[in-house]
């Protein structure tokens, strides 16, 4: 029954297991943490490598000799303009302050999503499961469609774009410079187990915008009484400081770090409890209240504190979440670091709900239908839009300037090699 016990599969299983455990690409010939393969932590999660046999070539690095001979930073811009003999990278990117986007996140940031088509018998067909292999090898996450590092066009038709998408539009020299250092179940406690998978060379690479968004697992767990397992403000302070010190040793000077607060998750129960779960839509028999109770009984709920019929527990969970957000705010206002500026931003989901209702939507339409917990693609992009606007108004220096050569880059290099 354990397919990995078969001798001829043992090695590949080992490699896959290491890739998942370390959160680094499974297929990475030159071991520069960038891959030409999509899933298994490949380019769905971080900029696609444009030369997987040369470890000095990867997205996000400063150009090597203005990329006269090769595209050393995979942004699709290289060579010399024959008209004036100036290297294109120098002409189009010098002084434009290129920068990458890096997410330190959990399943919400990685866009955990189980398609409801997989559970809906009435619509099931041969097409329903075509994306199952890809989803499984991305741990049921869809970072390529996420709000921070997504590079594919949205499947939900909403016009808002991811933060990476906007950074690239602002300055085409940022092409392919994204990393989702995210994991299901990630929190301030266990980030240290996989933060090494972040790839940034302090001397050779461009500065980065790092978004720290551990939005739930410090207060979410499956225990019958989730409170004892919740992170305390003191632990949060210590965990986050450990992370920031690590970042200060790794990020190029001129980077920016944004600490993202935790939400008030009571909207989950309020919006969903009396809605039918996809498994209950055919016979109108299973609501999310039943579903939450089932997961809680088995102690496999992603968040027993908020996905609970116990109002007191829901309130307690939100109170702890707010305390942890205040801890992040305190760190951002009192701590300084040599290589990056530090900011704090509230996770104001109610603002997203209001915006969605203005467009005629319902709050429950912002939540993943199958798990009843994660923000869905629409919510992720609305959140990204809010983050972008807030940065643009409050801290415009974080985003760098608009590159005046964008249109010329498009003229000469088209889609810059795509993603």
């Amino acid at each position: 029954s354990n397919i990995c016990s078969l001798p001829f599969l043992a090695k590949i299983c080992q490699k896959i297991e290491l890739s998942v455990k370390k959160s680094v690409p499974f297929k990475d010939v030159d071991s520069d943490k960038h891959s030409v393969f999509p899933t298994l932590r490949g380019y769905h999660w971080r900029g696609r490598d444009c030369n997987d046999s040369d470890k000095t070539v990867y997205p996000g690095r400063r150009p090597d000799n203005w990329d006269v001979h090769q595209d050393s930073n995979c942004n699709g811009i290289w060579g010399i303009d024959p008209k004036d003999g100036i290297p294109y990278e120098k002409k189009f990117c010098e002084g434009s302050q290129p920068r990458g986007i890096i997410l330190l996140g959990d399943s919400a940031g990685a866009h955990f999503h189980i398609p409801p088509e997989w559970l809906t018998a009435s619509q099931m067909s041969l097409k329903s499961f075509f994306n199952l292999p890809s989803a499984l090898t991305d741990e049921l996450n869809w970072p390529q469609l996420s709000g921070v590092t997504g590079f594919l066009d949205s499947t939900s038709g909403i016009e808002e774009k991811s933060i990476y998408h906007r950074l690239r539009k602002r300055n085409h020299c940022n092409h392919r410079d994204y990393q989702s250092i995210s994991r299901n179940g990630a929190s301030s406690r266990n980030l240290k187990n996989f933060i090494e998978s972040l790839s940034r060379n302090q001397a050779l690479d461009q500065p980065a915008i790092v978004i720290y968004a551990m939005i739930g697992n410090d207060v979410c767990n499956g225990k019958t009484d989730p409170v004892p397992e919740m992170t305390t403000p003191e632990q949060m302070y210590s965990n986050v400081m450990q992370t920031l010190k690590h970042l200060n040793s790794q990020l190029p000077n001129g980077s920016h770090v944004i600490l993202y607060g935790l939400p008030d998750g009571t909207f989950l129960w309020d919006s969903l409890h009396n809605q039918y779960h996809p498994l209950g839509q055919l016979n109108k028999d299973v609501t999310y209240a039943h579903f939450f109770s089932f997961l809680s009984c088995l102690q496999v709920s992603p968040c027993n504190g908020w996905m609970s019929s116990n109002k007191t527990l829901r309130t307690l969970t939100s109170q702890r979440a707010e305390q942890l957000s205040n801890t992040l705010k305190k760190i951002a206002t009192t701590e300084t670091f040599t290589n990056f500026n530090l900011f704090y931003m509230d996770f104001a989901f109610h603002e997203i709900i209001e915006e969605w209702q203005k467009r005629g939507g319902q709050p429950w339409q912002l939540i993943e239908p199958v798990d009843g917990f994660h923000p869905n693609e629409v919510a992720s992009l609305l959140l990204a839009d809010r983050v972008w606007k807030k940065i643009q108004t409050q801290w415009p220096q974080v985003l760098g300037r608009e590159n005046p050569f964008n249109s010329q880059i498009e003229e000469v290099f088209g889609d810059q090699g795509g993603h």
């Binding site: 018998a121 009435s122 041969l126 088995l298």
Partner: protein, 122 residues
Amino acid sequence: YSEGHDCVGCVVVVSVIEQLAEVHNSSVQEAMERLCSYLPEKLFLKATCYYLVQMFGSDIIKLLGEAMNADVVCHALEFCKQDGIQSQCHLYPLPQEAWKFTLEKAKRILKRSSTVKYHRSG
């Protein structure tokens, strides 16, 4: 990954099989074949599906044939643990007193079942 996930996975899959049979007005056997036929070959998904049907299909057919729901089937097949806590876990609303009686009946059916006892795999 824990045993609780085994239980969730079983209840979800058996629910989908039950609903496929209902939607297509077909037998449970045909519903299981249909579900497996929808899965891609990649990652041994289709093969694994047919393997699981071979392992558990006949018991699922017997129990669903007795109008038992996914909760009862998965408890009887022991994907949902029988210890004190979890034996109360079910997804579908069910009057409490019927739960125990139905579960006992399901186990009797399986005991009589001719298929070889299988070891519940992880």
